[in-house]
Symmetry: C2
């Protein structure tokens, strides 16, 4: 099973500090990196936590507030100066192209080509898909258009029952077909159903990313059963009126979403700088959803499938 993990590059809301940079995360599937949001200093954090910027070909931007995009000009510029060539795909609100194009006029000539893909802020959509992974966006509710993302592994092959392969001496090409779900047709025309020949595949793993947003119950069917959910928890319930006013969530609300969506593990972040100690937030969330963790910059969450649990 390929490694599938998430590294936190920034966990502060609005303004950074030396301890908490602004929002960015990187999803790694095997050796490929998918960047989500790009607050100021993201390229520095990537280096600090051993992630090669040349391996990023896809960047997903939730919304155009500065604390989620101010690291993009520097990242792209450094990618190019480091000799990266080819295409980098950015999935975002279409206005990002205007912002970046203005800045890029003043950069050295880029070696690479940026391809912009506008997000749909009205309905769920598959924004990226290949043989290994699928990324869907879904609308959130913030002060400006904003999307969440869910990264899902593509369905895995079924497992062949070894004793059947031996017993029936199944040819190699048939084995491939059976792993994809086909029945086996013998030379006498008789059919052995797939269910006799295989064991179930591992359930595809998934990671859902939800920031910035008010608590939004309509996302529950989309993120239902995700192994790992990152949900913003900018404020505590004690100042829930601030969350309402700024279109953010409280730790309690993040936990309510995690509980209703029956996720494996909840990680919270995007903390307001008012919380020097975020224990108040994680305690509040754990009352509702015990398997909650408050992220720090540099945290690394590996999603495994042992007993459906997620370890970090």
């Amino acid at each position: 099973m390929l490694p599938f993990d998430v590294t936190i590059l920034g966990s502060s809301s609005a303004t950074p500090s030396p301890e908490r940079f602004t929002t960015s995360q990187v999803v790694s599937q095997n050796e490929r990196l998918f960047l989500i949001d790009c607050g100021e200093g993201t390229q520095i954090q990537l280096q600090k936590y051993g992630k090669k910027i040349g391996r990023i070909n896809h960047i997903f931007i939730s919304h155009l507030h500065g604390d989620h995009i101010f690291g993009l000009p520097g990242l792209i510029s450094s990618m190019s100066m480091n000799g990266k060539k080819g295409e980098v795909h950015i999935y975002s609100h279409s206005d990002l192209q205007v912002i970046l194009s203005t800045m890029m006029k003043y950069m050295n000539d880029l070696n690479l080509k940026i391809i912009f893909h506008p997000l749909n802020f009205r309905r769920n959509a598959v924004v990226y898909e290949d043989s290994k992974i699928k990324v869907e966006s879904f609308p959130l509710k913030h002060r400006i258009p904003c999307c969440g993302f869910i990264f899902r592994e593509q369905p895995q092959d079924l497992h062949l029952r070894k004793e059947k392969v031996m017993e029936l001496n199944i040819p190699f090409l048939d084995r491939i077909r059976i792993k994809k779900g086909a029945d086996l047709v013998l030379s006498d025309g008789s059919v052995i159903p797939n269910s006799d020949l295989t064991l179930p595949a591992e359930k595809p793993r998934s990671f859902a990313y939800c920031t910035d947003t008010v608590m939004l119950e309509k996302i529950i069917p989309v993120i239902e059963g995700a192994d790992l959910l990152y949900h913003e928890a900018t404020f505590s319930d004690a100042v829930s009126e601030l969350a309402v006013k700024t279109y953010h969530s409280t730790a309690k609300q993040a936990a309510q979403i995690a509980l209703k969506a029956n996720v494996g593990k909840l990680i919270i972040g995007h903390f307001s700088s008012r919380y020097k100690d975020v224990n108040v937030l994680v305690d509040e969330a754990r009352e509702i959803f015990p398997n909650t963790y408050a992220v720090n910059d540099g945290d690394h969450f590996e999603i495994r499938k042992d007993n459906q649990s997620v370890s970090c």
Copy 2:
């Protein structure tokens, strides 16, 4: 004598690393901060090294390459979110206004007003002056228009000779005039020349900032006698052809400028990422100008006037 010092916020050229952010420095005179250049993460470095962003009212930008400006949107945004009001003055190429205006459309409404002052890239000019400090710009030679800056304390008051004040019982208002250079006129009309009443003022301190540029002899009269000179030393003499090609300087060239300009101390920076150990650069410079230091992020240089020396 008011404190007058320089703090290095970033010392890498082109691309940052966790150890060396891209270019930015802050000059502090008493409690006031003057920012020079603003590479990505400058606001984080300011916090890390205990410099309050709310105290910055003047920002000097040498040129519009990304490693000198990518921290501006985040810095301005954070100033505003932290409640800073009033005016912030930016001295730069006029195109910076276009770049920042595009990004600022996507920021929350700013509480503060940004006032842009275009630099003159053809001749030396006083860009800022008040009763305590004067900042001059002077053209450098880089791939795009670029200026250096020199920060000079305004001339200090002369020192009254205490024995003369006692002997002649000089009235308070006359003392103020004498400290500014006036002679003393006695009630019988006789005149005591200023030189009999005073001792010389301290020589005003100065800090010159020269990056990015080829070695440029014409700046020598401008920076002549500066107490502290920051000069870029992107490359070593061994790859001087790279310096020529990219319009940068070698450590040797920085030292030659320091020697000819008879400065107090030379600090070098803007190092190419090829130098994991910058001793090769500082050794090369010291062969020509022994009082050379290779800067690190967070270094703090206090300019004192004891024996014309600069301590750090």
